[in-house]
Symmetry: C3
Subunit: 297 residues, 3 copies
């Protein structure tokens, strides 16, 4: 009774304010299923680490089969939703077939993703003196989590799956505070320590053996033009063996950090740096005065 009017008002609001669609009604990929796809793929990559089972170098065949089949079932459906959602309704039969092909394409790429994720894990262990062993890195390091999800999402994006890769990267962003666009290109043995606040933009290019710390932005210079900038290279290029310490910002699509250079904490860079350099900010002059007024700044 008392809800009749509020419900009517909400119904009216649907007619006044709406996100217009070219198609009248459709499904979109489901967040919970996309999250399960991430976790199943991680279980294939690092078998036994995330399930109620034993870790082993080579898990039993039945386990692999069970996980791969479950992944196939879920991913096929979600890819189908993403294809149907973006296409004409009439093509639905054709798209069903295509979603099946794309799904198997992805599963065929998992051994390659595994290798990359394994190199990333080693980079995390050898780069962090607080790391106990490789297993600890695999089960609890947010940097490795975010990079593994990036490798999965990037692979799906490459083979032509839409919508789902960005859902994956935003899920990893939520879990870790690390925001890596699936379209960025990142080489082998990538290491992110702590990671909260890291942003790696859509057109960033990163070489091999790169290390970055919390709060690092690989971003764009100015974004006031919004959608007009679509497709342009807006984010920097980081060459092999570069280290970028905490909270440094490197901006602009033409900015290149040369191989084997080191960027200090908090450095703000909008121009290229040659290779083999150490870049710090001229030490900001600190002002010290006695704390007389109980800490008032």
């Amino acid at each position: 009774m008392k809800l009749t009017n509020p419900i009517q008002n909400i119904r009216n609001s649907y007619k006044e304010v709406m996100i217009k669609k070219d198609h009248c009604s459709c499904r979109i990929p489901q967040a919970d299923k996309v999250e399960e796809i991430i976790e199943l793929t991680r279980e294939i990559i690092f078998p036994g680490y995330f399930s109620d089972s034993h870790i082993s170098e080579v898990p039993c065949l039945a386990h692999t089969k069970r996980v791969v089949r479950r992944l196939h079932k879920l991913l096929k459906t979600q890819i189908q939703y993403s294809l149907l959602y973006l296409a004409d309704r009439e093509k639905s039969k054709e798209l069903k077939k295509k979603s099946c092909t794309l799904c198997v394409d992805f599963i065929n790429k998992i051994p390659e993703i595994r290798k990359m994720a394994y190199y990333d894990a080693i980079a995390h262990y050898s780069g962090d003196p607080a790391a106990f062993n490789l297993d600890q890195v695999v089960i609890s390091y947010p940097g490795l989590y975010a990079i593994t999800v990036y490798r999965i999402a990037h692979c799906l994006d490459k083979i032509g799956v839409q919508v789902i890769p960005r859902m994956m990267s935003e899920y990893a962003h939520r879990v870790t505070g690390i925001d890596i666009n699936p379209r960025a290109e990142i080489g082998e043995c990538f290491f992110i320590d702590h990671g909260t606040g890291v942003v790696i933009g859509e057109t960033a290019v990163i070489g091999n053996n790169v290390k970055i710390y919390q709060g690092v932005t690989l971003g764009a210079m100015s974004l006031r033009k919004g959608q007009q900038l679509k497709g342009t290279k807006r984010h920097p290029t980081i060459e092999d063996d570069v280290t970028i310490y905490a909270n440094a910002s490197i901006l602009g699509g033409d900015t290149v950090i040369g191989a084997n250079s080191v960027i200090g904490s908090n450095v703000f860079i909008t121009k290229s740096v040659p290779k083999n350099m150490v870049v710090t900010t001229k030490e900001a002059e600190l002002v010290l005065r006695e704390n007389k007024k109980n800490g008032t700044i």
Copy 2:
């Protein structure tokens, strides 16, 4: 057996160290229910995006009824807990009635919240060249998530609901890394990109069409006086059409950023800026030297 002593020690500790209450025992609002209230309200705002259903401009009536009724049931109870918790036990009947009224008041405001959230979604799409379409923004952008939860929490705070709004904003903070106090005042078409590390304080005032990026703080100058500062305006005012790039800090209750101004990345501001300005930091002198000692800084 072996637990008898430990349990006794814990019981003793309850008598020694306690959070004193004026009432002897009570319920407080429940985190899991508050989270479900957020998700139900988001499902009403963007119908079909977060449930196992189809997205459509106007969902079927049965769906709206089901979601609104579930929301009403949950919210009424949680508001009742928040009222009872803060009041005399004798008033319980009166407060039950009041919680019902407050709950319907909130549901009546949803069409207004919807309109604001829809404008926010458009601001996110048009401001970000990496955004694919509006649907993607709705299902996966953390900025829109945090702002939508802020709009819900702010509305509850305005109609007089206590405790629950801050639980909501801390939930969004946990999910997104974006911390917006429900008491801040924020205009239409607000855009937060990436968002991790953003802090918007209790007494901040933000106009229309404002864009902010990751790591931006709209904060207080000095907080050594703690609770004595309660109620004073401690956070800045941002006028219409301002853009604030990543990791900039704007501090102080008297600080006003004038309309249509742009604040560059990493800029640190404690004084007002006139309207129509671009503010950057005088470029910090970078020190480059050859990387001779394998990256030692």
Copy 3:
């Protein structure tokens, strides 16, 4: 059928790329159980705040017994996994007994952890003018959440439990964006406001009544030597009554911030500061120009 080849490829990849173990197969502590251990311990520390029950100064005995027994059951098993995982298989009986002892050791420390967590809660309430009351701090402040988990993980680390403490701290990191290594030493009445992006390294030492804000790093200077730095003091010492405002970085194992000093927002420190000082950066020169080109920087 179509999955036969992909599965075979994944099986082959297990033989080519693997995390080598000295033992052929084992269990590691389980993330979901470790999270439940955290929540049960928090429920003992702040009774009634996180369960579907009433908050009260002294909860009923049955409630305490139920929660402690459940905690004992879970923790004993997870400690056992962590011990077996790191040891010879033959010692399994001995380690089962040891895991039981360690588990009771931890439960015996809970009253001490409670006292510390209670002081932390008071520090959060009195330091934040936006805090409504102590209950709100307990149920929704991420700073208190992260510190409570740190106190639990630090205690487990001290009594000799391995692997699990770091899983706990990374769980809190995920929930709050605050990354406190369980081995850091932190005094009474610690306060973290907002918190996203805070990093407190493994060898940091923090006194009593210290307050820190979002984005503060207590970090290492240079990490290019990775695992070779294991065991050295790499992170700073913060003495009693120090306040460190947002996004300040304090780096290096020899750096000491003297008692009662205040470090301003964004200050970058790599050398010691005497006691009773206020440290700010010489105000960076701001460049203001008219916004002529629609915000291009």
